[in-house]
Symmetry: C2
Subunit: 233 residues, 2 copies
DNA sequence: CAACTGAAAACTGTCAACAGTTTGCAAAGC
DNA sequence: GCTTTGCAAACTGTTGACAGTTTTCAGTTG
């Protein structure tokens, strides 16, 4: 994509409310506006130098994404998923990611295999040196790559929406729970399955990976709950 | 839910743009505004006796649902999924419905089993007498019941969104393709699997059902394409 | 001192108007 | 006759203002 294309894309996808939607989403996911809190339309409008109209439109779009909740005459509130919802999301993610693995195994190119293996090696290196700051973005890119390369845009959109909602989960710090090495063993099996171009095996490997992440989260959560029960309310 | 509750719910969920969203969605899914066509904000505003503000908000919400597309300075257009997207949707639906079956098998009550069997018998009766007009709403209710009873609201929301998008598929009349009897055999296996409270079997039965529906759609589509190629553009 | 009451402030819901862009159409030029 | 150009109508994007509701808080009462 060259500079002209880029400018055109910007012009085509601009529209104040579209930009606002992304900015507000960033503010929400970045934790700038804490979950449960009401969003003040006037504040946002003055902050971005616009009127309330576009802000309201952006908020309605975010409501569709499930990031905020709209209560008539009271305003929009940042959603705050309970554990139960986080579990629901993990269950859905499990089958979606499994499908991504299955589809990927059926269509992956040699170049893509090489790239996956590259991620894997880097992650294993980072895990060996316990370098979590290097591991985390690699892990993210690895999963993003699979979701994109599977070739199903509908799946990718749904998956991304779920991950965003999970970011609002109050105990999301626990999501990281579970050792780097354990996770990497699962990653290796995923890569081997798609390398073998075995859809069924890949589906199992990919969904098992998310299912185990769910189990790790639950374990960490129940442990945290036992230590500080107020976290669960 | 009594009358007071009902009134409260209405009051709480009203808000002009919320009502508009549902009304406009109805107009779109009902085919009143044909796919590909631009939606005129002024027309909608005068039709519902409001100003353009709430209409725009409702349209932004519908954009999030994937029913319309927003092109800056040109307006919103009813989305028109290509075959490729319909296929994507069916693939995602396959795993989602499979998950619904799995979850349902693990939690279904005797009363719910009885209800499912009731649907099944009525559908079989309708199929025997080739009464499609009676079969169709039963089939819909049967699937809705499974999605609701599985206990995963996230799954249900995603599933419903996909079904709505499928309604915009130009050749959606083909979705019905496939005999009533064939479909009912699959329904019977689904019900038997959840009755046996066997999650794995139920998951397989439920996802196979959608996967076969996808195959039937594809076969019908390719047949229609051969007869009238312009349909595919 | 705690609970209640009522008015003021803050905020959301809606509207009508204005600015800027796109689209449709008719006249001019080749 | 066909393309091009320029204008006018239609429509979208955005704004500021007003109406109605909720929230806050000081004053009052038991």
């Amino acid at each position: 994509m060259n500079a002209t294309d880029d400018a055109l894309t910007i012009l085509r996808t601009r529209s104040l409310s579209g930009v606002l939607e992304r900015e507000i989403e960033k503010a929400i996911l970045g934790g700038e506006i804490p979950p449960g809190k009401r969003v003040n339309e006037n504040l946002l409008a003055t902050r971005f130098g616009t009127s309330r109209g576009p802000v309201r439109e952006a908020l309605r779009a975010l409501e569709g994404l499930g990031l905020v909740e709209l209560i008539p005459n009271r305003g929009v509130f940042i959603r705050q998923p309970a554990v139960e919802e986080a579990i629901e999301i993990y269950d859905v993610r499990t089958v979606l990611f499994g499908l991504a693995g299955k589809l990927l195994a059926a269509r992956i190119t040699d170049a893509e295999i090489a790239r996956l293996k590259g991620y894997l090696e880097q992650m294993e290196a980072a895990a060996r040196s316990r370098d979590f700051d290097r591991y985390y973005p690699l892990n993210l890119a690895f999963h993003e790559f699979i979701i994109d390369a599977c070739g199903n845009a509908t799946l990718a959109a749904q998956y991304r929406g779920l991950v965003k909602k999970l970011h609002l989960f109050r105990a999301r710090s626990l999501v990281q729970g579970g050792g780097l090495e354990v996770s990497n063993l699962e990653h290796r099996e995923m890569v081997e399955a798609v390398t073998a171009r075995d859809p069924e095996r890949a589906q199992r490997a990919h969904s098992d990976h998310v299912a185990r992440a769910k189990a790790r989260l639950l374990a960490a959560y129940q442990k945290a709950e036992a230590q500080a029960p107020r976290l669960t309310n």
